[in-house]
Symmetry: D2
Subunit: 350 residues, 4 copies
Amino acid sequence: MLKFSCDYMEGAHPHILNRLSTINLEKNDGYGMDEYTESARAKLRIMCGIPDAEVHFLMGGTQTNTIVLDSILRFNQGVLAPTTGHINVHEAGAIEGCGHKVVPMKAANGKIDILALERHLHLLKVECDVVGWEHYVAPRVLYVSFPSEYGSLYTLDELRQLRTICDKYDLYMFVDGARLGYGLASPYCDVSLSDMAQLCDVFYLGGTKVGALFGEAVVVTNPELTIPRGLIKQRGAMLAKGWLLGIQFDTLLTSPTDDFTDTLYYKISRNAVEMAMMLREGMVAKGYEMHIDSPTNQQFFIVDNARLPELSRKVGFDSFAAYDEYHTVIRFCTSWATTVTQVDALLEVV
Amino acid sequence: MLKFSCDYMEGAHPHILNRLSTINLEKNDGYGMDEYTESARAKLRIMCGIPDAEVHFLMGGTQTNTIVLDSILRFNQGVLAPTTGHINVHEAGAIEGCGHKVVPMKAANGKIDILALERHLHLLKVECDVVGWEHYVAPRVLYVSFPSEYGSLYTLDELRQLRTICDKYDLYMFVDGARLGYGLASPYCDVSLSDMAQLCDVFYLGGTKVGALFGEAVVVTNPELTIPRGLIKQRGAMLAKGWLLGIQFDTLLTSPTDDFTDTLYYKISRNAVEMAMMLREGMVAKGYEMHIDSPTNQQFFIVDNARLPELSRKVGFDSFAAYDEYHTVIRFCTSWATTVTQVDALLEVV
Amino acid sequence: MLKFSCDYMEGAHPHILNRLSTINLEKNDGYGMDEYTESARAKLRIMCGIPDAEVHFLMGGTQTNTIVLDSILRFNQGVLAPTTGHINVHEAGAIEGCGHKVVPMKAANGKIDILALERHLHLLKVECDVVGWEHYVAPRVLYVSFPSEYGSLYTLDELRQLRTICDKYDLYMFVDGARLGYGLASPYCDVSLSDMAQLCDVFYLGGTKVGALFGEAVVVTNPELTIPRGLIKQRGAMLAKGWLLGIQFDTLLTSPTDDFTDTLYYKISRNAVEMAMMLREGMVAKGYEMHIDSPTNQQFFIVDNARLPELSRKVGFDSFAAYDEYHTVIRFCTSWATTVTQVDALLEVV
Amino acid sequence: MLKFSCDYMEGAHPHILNRLSTINLEKNDGYGMDEYTESARAKLRIMCGIPDAEVHFLMGGTQTNTIVLDSILRFNQGVLAPTTGHINVHEAGAIEGCGHKVVPMKAANGKIDILALERHLHLLKVECDVVGWEHYVAPRVLYVSFPSEYGSLYTLDELRQLRTICDKYDLYMFVDGARLGYGLASPYCDVSLSDMAQLCDVFYLGGTKVGALFGEAVVVTNPELTIPRGLIKQRGAMLAKGWLLGIQFDTLLTSPTDDFTDTLYYKISRNAVEMAMMLREGMVAKGYEMHIDSPTNQQFFIVDNARLPELSRKVGFDSFAAYDEYHTVIRFCTSWATTVTQVDALLEVV
């Protein structure tokens, strides 16, 4: 059956499997102390333009969000996130499970409402400067996803506004880049990887959804912050055979031309976005109504509930949300592995 | 100076101090295993009409909310609370500090929006029954305050609606009664203590704000639930000299007529509400605008910001919230100890 | 019945009850922001000889140990404690409940084995400097009780040795002084309060067992450390009527001669120790065998199991531990409230 | 260089890589809901002889220990473990990080001292039945590793004794089988997989050290217990591409003869043990002194410190512990991938 329900249904890009086979019987040091991991770290530092950035490779998004936030937050500090943010709705309370409150902020189409955010911080500060912060959750981190859970992107100008707010209210800015490649590769994106690295304090570049078997590359760009290896170990997130992560990212970040704007990671990300744009055009041409105008690999359409049973016999999709009593928002995802043939087949049957 | 800023500014009702003096050099068993505590437990069980209710005495509201919720919630389970609920905004993230998410629900005047609550639970269930609850925070407890943080009260009918929703969605219902006396004593309240005990699974009757030096009496009415003493100890909430709590509640729950509708707790609660009504009438007569029509000991007025500096030189109040750019909502609290003289003096100066 | 089973069976010194009565209807600011608390803080700073020490008043020992350690420890850091230390055996896993490991160290008569401690730290460092600390619990705090749970005292020289070890291995030194008065008041003690304050990084002076209704006064002497009020609130340990703690310690730390070596706290502590010495002499004269030679208010004797039933009909004591198959170690505690008459009565019946 | 320092230096058995390649572009459902994972679960249930056992696949040992124990322990409950147990010394305080105390028990050669364990439980019960369990950590789980961290094995009779103790004191028995294959494959082992499954309440069969890229298969044999998927997700331990775990175990548990005593897992485990025995004989023949007589893939020898520098230039090993001032215990590990050639080479150079 055709499956477009998410972007982590396939294994890894073949280059990755090849390299894993090649070094399979080598004896490597464990816990991320091997040469492949070191090589991947070095490449990321160059790509970000931050020579001394701290880089860690972790296994999945929830794990990464948890460890990054747990490394920063203490006591009554909390993290602000859009209401629709992954940490607020789709991680089973993982951040709270480590003792930290996620404070939901108004959002639209997956993006935080910047004015509402600033107003919230202003009013809270006015109030707490009088009665004392100790009775409240004190915001310490701003979390946003890029692309958002709705496929939308912040513009460079919006990211700069968020940075300004973070500076004003003494917040760290953390970008969840589980689908970062699919954002950077969008023709509608005016943000580069090095912009991202310059603007936020810590972010990650996702592998699980972008060509790897699994893995997220966390880049700590603010030298005030560190993610202790003791925390990674304690949270059960230190892979014994750490080189499995290192070699995957080393492969994804390889460029045939030694130009880091031309890595495998970008190349396969572009494919996903191109397939998404093709899918979108085809759907619109067929009369489907877009729920939001997503410029990345996730595409959302409003479908009459009466059509859902038949549709779901033909193609796998994600029932994203109820639109109203009679309509549902469905999501199609493309990935690095999606082919023109698959999109054509989808457009044939819908 | 006149002080109406909160309801925990005085010590304890004199009867309590007297009894503490009387038994001061007695040697009592520790940790709540003494006869005074047992007597207080027995009285509460009778008042609630639940002969085998589990009763614990704890020291403060945040501690009590934390321990009650921590005794129930596990794994990815969370607690639903009105956006304005104490656990959501005024407890420094204490519930999250124990690993559990507080999921904010739409509220008005401090009370949860019942329709919005039901709709949220319905949609979440539809979604999670498909994709699996493991990715979400699964609601397990409904938390409401009675009276609410805005002084408002749920009617008996509203509590029954909440109970019905809890039954339908398999939630426990937990009522924060930090000011329970001031609710039950209101002429506008149609809920009795035994209604409360019958309708919810666990609640507490506050002493800190209602005549005691400190102390909250937790009543677990649902035999499925228990608050292990090992949890109380582990959370640093087991008072060595537990009889200090027991004798305070034993005194508050004493009635001269052996009629439990006539206890000291109710008597002093009525005083606070009467003083609040007198204060309200006086303020309205002077032209102040009520922010909400509160039937309990907290009263809220909208004041022109220009008048605040002078007002705050004359009387202590709580700057509750910004109303708009030019006005502030201020709160006056009465308590068990408030006198007619004090209210008159307040009305004189405002 | 005669009761010597613990030192927290009575209420508070009458001076404390008197002052509580005197200010009962005053309206005080909450959460420890009142003048009585500030006065008690000031006195403690003078007594310790540390003008800018941070001082907090908390409600009980387990709560205090938990909050102090939780304010310091992060990630894979842990606390070293004697095997017999209160946090290791008598606090229901409270420290672990906050996420931190208590690493037990060899002890004798309640005191940590200094040589074994140093050897442990040396070997661990050798090992971890090679394989990486991230796989281990990294010691960050040394916890000792003064007096210990067995009534024993560290000499000034021993405390200095511990300090040297802490400096060498980069540990903070935390002294649990739940019974500090009973240590300092012992004729066998060569340590002063200001020695204690100089030698450790944080300690507390207990009130619950030494004349107060409840309360522990935490003194943070190392300016690198701080106990955030947000943590105290989050852990449910911030008393709404904080002045109840402040005025108790303000009373205990009052001296009729303005000489802080002559405070009520010391005076009543001396009484407990004198009564304990009298009890000890009397017991030994009657042929009882001391289990250890305790110089403070806890006294331990080895009793034939066959005598226990009769003895426990006459006097309350603590069955401390099995000595061998046929004998039990029992503990008698005196307190600030113990009288000569009570000790005489005890010696009469045993 | 020759490397014998641990048993997780190579990738995966080639059969696993082959299957991963074969299904690489298949679109599989995530989170362990795929057919490969279901097939692996079914095989394990048959091998254990427990048709309705609950089976989960997790990513590593620390993660697995944490999640299993966190799923069982609540409040003031703790886990008993040998002093040398992995959770007590090598997991960065992961169990405490989830709020639960690891209570160390006397051990010898990596195995818990059964008499000391029983005596501890007996004395604790005598004490707590009097003063109340709420002040203590109440043992709820017994943790042992099979093989132990020293390569040693419990006999079937010893496991039965542990089971009896667990039944008597109401403990669950949890076996850490990170190297289970290397235990079961030892000629000195009289325990079968189904014995293990029958005797304990939950255990795991390790893949990371036994032929997989990564992965541990947890088998919950006691129907009273369950590991909620919501906990796995919350702890960041739910792999998006869960089939990566499923297919690895499905491959390891495949038998050419359809006889589950003849799976790839056993076959490659036997190789490791045979290589270890060959290594041991060779070392002893060369005059090396064994530290303990290990029947599994870890071998320990006592080496003169003066010889260490030269030795470590020739071969990678683990400096396990100081033996005395002049000698060190070193560890050599074989694995599923170790060859006769490698062992010969080792014996050549030592």
